[in-house]
């Protein structure tokens, strides 16, 4: 993965000094709350329900074992001994002390980490596929470009105070796993007819209270121009995006208001001036950064491993885990492994310091010292030998990291919700936990098969409920907490936004509602259909009928 040189290190060190002084001025009363807010936000510091919340950047989800050990230590020393991995591949601490945050940042800087631009109205952490570099269906490893874009966007002086936050995702696979269509800019890397790296650029996607899938602004962009083209897009947005109403300030609203054709025209006109300017990426720079992401020294291994096959045959529990948590790898004899942060009945995405140490050790011992965070809020060891899988499983299982539920109903994406977040309409974690307990039967879960259930505590959609096959949204009705249910949302190449099935439900009803939705699916599915396929084929009607039928009887 990318290693800092003296330039990178100096920037994070200078940031710590700058932030320390901003905090000093704030505590001394030299900065008002309003003045300090954007400064602290651009450093990931929110003031939340119970305490400040600090969001630490994990650029495109890559972590080293050493960094994870450090995060675990920080969570122990400055927080309550756990952290929350977020849907934007970052780590959040829920209970740090305001005054401690400069020290936390200084600690992070010792392991080449920071919290720069993890919040606030600026270009945020750039996200990508958690299997970047190892996925068999990968055309281009997008991480080098993601790193180049990270550097470009870090303290970009023109885009330091945008109308609203700005999120970029990149992907280089046939099957999009980075949800590029729901980002302010989505970049899909591919090889063009001349076998050159090219980018399909999407713009104006986003969830939140106005969910919109992005539109294609350019089918073909040569990779050298990635930065200047983004500059053109962000400049048009910076100048013309609305600043009078924060709910209408995202780029998606501007793109919708102008129409993609007019927006494209303005961007292309701007780009004419920027094209080939010095921020054009050079071959040398791409090569320099790309070598940080070069393949590891993989052993040449056969495609099969006898000890692995024996273990699968003799241990059903191991076999179940392999089925859900082990993924193909482009190199023979290797696999990628997802360590589930979704054990039933625990807050999705949370990891204790002890678990972080365990995962870091596993990464060091079995996966070249690196790991990734997925936007589904799990941790990934990307390069494990087949013959090591059993050992990894045993250790992970001993620490609650091997629930074989990846891609299943209980692998829930869930925002912090009302337990932590001051914007929430409703709690989300207890709903996730209740659903997990309702479906706490692995055979049944495996029978239901691939499905994504996403929960947000309010329409800001941090939990991506719009693109969940089943989406749950916390709503406020007369001061009490209710939940609205959507089905048919989907991430990926054929992304879609879910449709609301009807009036909302109380918290107690939710596990039963999900149960009913699943019953319809089980009854109606064809042998090869996943939940989403059945939902798309049938529409909401049968689901709605079954879910609300019960209500009428009991009411």
């Amino acid at each position: 993965m990318y290693k800092y040189d003296e330039i990178d290190q100096q920037i994070v060190d200078e940031r710590v000094a700058q932030y320390r002084d901003q905090m000093r001025r704030f505590l001394a009363g030299e900065l008002t709350d309003d003045e300090f807010r954007p400064l602290r936000l651009q450093n990931g510091l929110y003031i939340q329900r119970h305490a400040p919340m600090l969001r630490i950047a994990v650029p495109y989800g890559m972590l080293s074992a050493k960094q994870l050990h450090k995060l675990a230590d920080i969570a122990t020393q400055y927080d309550k001994g756990y952290g929350h991995f977020s849907t934007r591949q970052n780590l959040q601490l829920n209970w740090p002390k305001l005054e401690d945050t400069p020290d936390i940042l200084a600690e992070l800087a010792t392991v080449e980490m920071h919290a720069i631009q993890t919040s606030g109205n600026c270009i945020r952490n750039i996200t990508t596929d958690q299997f970047a570099g190892v996925a068999p269906d990968e055309v281009i490893d997008p991480r080098a470009m993601a790193e180049i874009m990270r550097q470009w966007s870090t303290f970009h002086p023109e885009f330091a105070l945008l109308p609203r936050k700005f999120k970029i995702a990149v992907s280089g696979t046939l099957q999009d796993r980075a949800v590029v269509q729901v980002h302010d800019i989505g970049m899909e890397f591919y090889r063009d007819a001349n076998h050159k790296i090219a980018i399909k650029v999407w713009v104006g996607g986003g969830l939140g209270r106005t969910p919109i899938l992005g539109a294609v602004i350019r089918e073909h962009l040569e990779w050298q121009h990635a930065l200047t083209y983004c500059e053109a897009i962000v400049r048009v947005y910076n100048l013309h995006g609305r600043r009078d109403n924060m709910y209408k300030a995202r780029i998606k609203i501007l793109v919708k208001a102008l129409g993609i054709d007019e927006f494209r025209k303005q961007v292309e006109a701007e780009w004419l001036h920027l094209k080939d300017s010095p921020n054009t990426i050079t071959e040398a720079e791409l090569a320099r950064v790309a070598q940080h992401f070069a393949d590891f020294d993989y052993e040449s291994l056969p495609a099969q491993d006898a000890s692995f096959d024996t273990a699968v045959a003799s241990s059903p529990a191991f076999a179940a885990w392999v089925k859900r948590c082990v993924h193909p790898h482009k190199t023979s004899g290797y696999r990628a492994v997802t360590l589930s942060l979704k054990p039933h009945g625990k807050p999705p995405g949370d990891a204790s310091s002890e678990q972080m140490h365990v995962v870091a050790d596993l990464a060091a011992q079995y996966s070249f010292g690196e790991l990734r965070v997925s936007h589904e809020q799990n941790l990934i060891l990307a390069d494990v030998k087949l013959s090591d899988l059993f050992a990894v499983w045993e250790k992970a299982r001993a620490h609650g990291l091997a629930t074989p539920n990846i891609g299943l109903l209980t692998d829930i994406i869930c925002c912090p919700g009302g337990d932590f977040c001051s914007l929430a309409n409703a709690k989300s974690i207890p709903i996730a936990e209740a659903i997990q307990m309702q479906f706490d039967n692995l055979d049944y879960l495996h029978d239901i098969g691939d499905i994504e259930l996403n929960i947000s505590g309010c329409m800001n959609a941090c939990g991506h409920h719009h693109v969940g096959h089943i989406g749950i949204l916390g709503v406020d009705k007369d001061g009490s907490e209710w939940y609205q249910v959507t089905i048919g949302g989907k991430q990926g190449n054929d992304a879609s936004i879910g449709s609301v099935i009807g009036p909302s439900f109380s918290a107690e009803e939710m596990p039963g509602v999900v149960q009913k939705l699943i019953e319809v699916y089980i009854k109606e599915r064809t042998p090869e259909e996943r939940f989403i396929d059945t939902a798309r084929r049938l529409g909401i009607a049968p689901f709605k009928a079954h879910v609300y039928a019960k209500n009428e009887v009991t009411a």
Binding site: D5, I7, Q10, I11, E14, R15, Q18, Q22, E35, P38, L39, N121, Q151, W152, S153, T154, F155, H156, P157, E158, F159, A160, L161, L162, P163, L227, R235, N238, L239, H240, G241, R242, R243, D244, N245, L254, A257, L258, E262, H273, S277, P278, N279, T282, A284, E285, A287, R288
Partner: protein, 205 residues
């Protein structure tokens, strides 16, 4: 107390201000809100300047003045002699269009100073305006930020080509100067240093 910071050849110092900002009088008529209406190019919803405001603007008879863009355009005859004397600069609010200035004043380098007024420090349009004035329109003279100008925006303003900064009156310009150098080797190219770090520093291969 001085609130003006002036950059000369990359060196910042406190300076005394010999320019007077000419303000528009408050508007008499009720503000016409554009917000909500879809107008190509301008969706941001600020009210526009009225003819009364322009006519009622009091322009001091002597001295160096920075006048609002709308006044500069509408009352250019009155100002022509003083423009020739290098005594007139122009200021724009962040929602105003540079194109209007350029259409009216073909050679903007005849203006010794252009200033941008930022009403709220969080309004980052100022950075794009500065960048465009320098890189697109080739402006070479003093580029000034005034209004809600605070220390923590200075580094970005400097990188966007601004050369003078009127720090908000209740804050110390002397303290603020330090922030012009918050970072020593920025990653990306911008107005003050167009080359990104990979073009100007040997980062190895």
């Amino acid at each position: 107390m001085n609130s003006l910071i002036q950059l000369k050849n990359g060196v910042a110092s406190l300076a005394s201000d010999d320019w007077t900002i000419v303000q528009l009088p408050a508007t008499q008529v009720e503000a016409r809100k554009q917000a909500g209406k879809v107008v190509l190019f301008k969706l941001t919803g600020e009210e526009s300047v009225t003819t009364e405001q322009i006519e009622n603007t009091i322009i001091p008879a002597t001295g160096k003045i920075i006048v609002p863009l709308s006044v500069f355009i509408a009352r250019h005859r009155e100002l022509a002699n003083r423009v020739a004397e290098n005594e007139v600069g122009v200021w724009l609010a962040t929602h105003e269009l540079l194109e209007h200035l350029i259409q009216h004043q073909t050679d903007i380098n005849e203006l010794p100073i252009i200033a941008i007024f930022v009403e709220r420090f969080a309004d980052g349009r100022i950075f794009s305006l500065g960048t465009l004035l320098r890189s697109r329109y080739g402006y070479k003279n003093d580029l000034r930020a005034f209004g809600d100008v605070l220390r923590d925006q200075l580094f970005f303003l400097k990188r966007g080509g601004f050369t003078s900064f009127v720090i908000r009156a209740d804050r110390s310009a002397a303290d603020a100067i330090a922030s012009l150098n918050d970072f020593s080797q920025p990653y990306q190219g911008a107005v003050d240093e167009p080359r990104p770090v990979f073009q100007r520093y040997n980062r190895g291969t």
